[in-house]
Symmetry: C2
Subunit: 167 residues, 2 copies
DNA sequence: TTTTATTTTCAGTAATTATTGAAAGTTTAG
DNA sequence: CTAAACTTTCAATAATTACTGAAAATAAAA
């Protein structure tokens, strides 16, 4: 397979994976493009490579920066902004998880906590409801906590420990 | 908060969470409805509770069954089909992960493996590309493997071990 | 068998989400 | 300062995804 072809396929796959997981396809594609680019790219480069509009490129680049997956890079003597992606894949994973945890998991944990506060906790139906919600809340809380701890830990420590654990 | 209100809020939250993660909102809502229902529900019940059409209810119930999150339940002397959700939240998590792994993670792992097969592996650009893809592939493979192992393990074993590990 | 209850399918439509492109805003150079 | 280079915004539009509802299929009862 030719290199260009391979890059394109990688970009498409990453984009598809993203959209299956609720992440804007173009955002994922730009991320992929920068991940396999050996040099910083400008907005123009992104527009050209992915055939997207300036507005689209700009918005998704900003979003990637807000996720801390991409950084601006200034090239001396050039007025344009250039962009590079974080290449350490463990960092990438941590930052994606951190972002989604913050924006999507934590709010629902707060809601689940509140929901256990129903009137008439004595009625069998209410009891059942509270039990279900409590289970989910506790489970999610444990998961959240585990992820939190793993995120803070170092890669080698994590893999070393987890693989020993997992035989 | 009133019980009905709480149930509705739970259903809405679950639905929103689902759609943020690329799962059809109605499917997630039906799942939520069944999760907090103390008795089996018919298609009619689901249509009524969530104000959705018969077609929509039917399709999403089938999808939930294919994910193994919901089961049919027959009530003797009644021709209608009734549905119940798996209530053990650890089982629920395992089944969701299993399904998404199979449908979305494994295909991309295969692709990443192939992509390392580019022409002219000697060129610096190709070398860089292969290195990036290889990193991602290895990382994803490790994650996949870990999840696989956890999925097979028992809940108590998992939490016992992971919490000991995580201090 | 025919009738009736129930489930499934899917073309058409609606709702949601993403994208464009041009105007407004900002920054730097001269 | 003004002009040019570049970035951002956002209303209009396109693309995608989800939903409806009625017809067709299936299954049970009569």
């Amino acid at each position: 397979m030719k290199l260009q072809e391979a890059k394109t396929q990688f970009i498409n796959s990453w984009g598809r994976l993203g959209s299956e997981w609720g992440i804007n396809r173009t955002m994922a594609q730009i991320h992929a493009l920068l991940l396999v680019s050996d040099k910083p790219l400008s907005t123009e480069d992104v527009m050209q490579e992915l055939s997207v509009s300036r507005g689209n490129a700009n918005m998704n680049l900003r979003e990637l920066i807000s996720w801390d997956l991409v950084q601006k890079e200034l090239i001396p003597g050039d007025r344009k902004e250039y962009f590079v992606a974080e290449k350490d894949i463990w960092e990438v994973a941590k930052r994606i998880v951190r972002e989604r945890k913050r924006k999507e998991i934590e709010p629902i944990l707060r809601e689940l906590k509140q929901l256990q506060d129903v009137d008439d906790k004595k009625s069998p139906e209410a009891k059942e409801f509270v039990k279900s919600v409590k289970n989910i809340h506790e489970f999610a809380g444990k998961m959240d906590k585990s992820i939190e701890t793993m995120m803070k830990a170092d890669e080698n420590w994590f893999f070393g420990a987890i693989f020993k654990l997992l035989k």
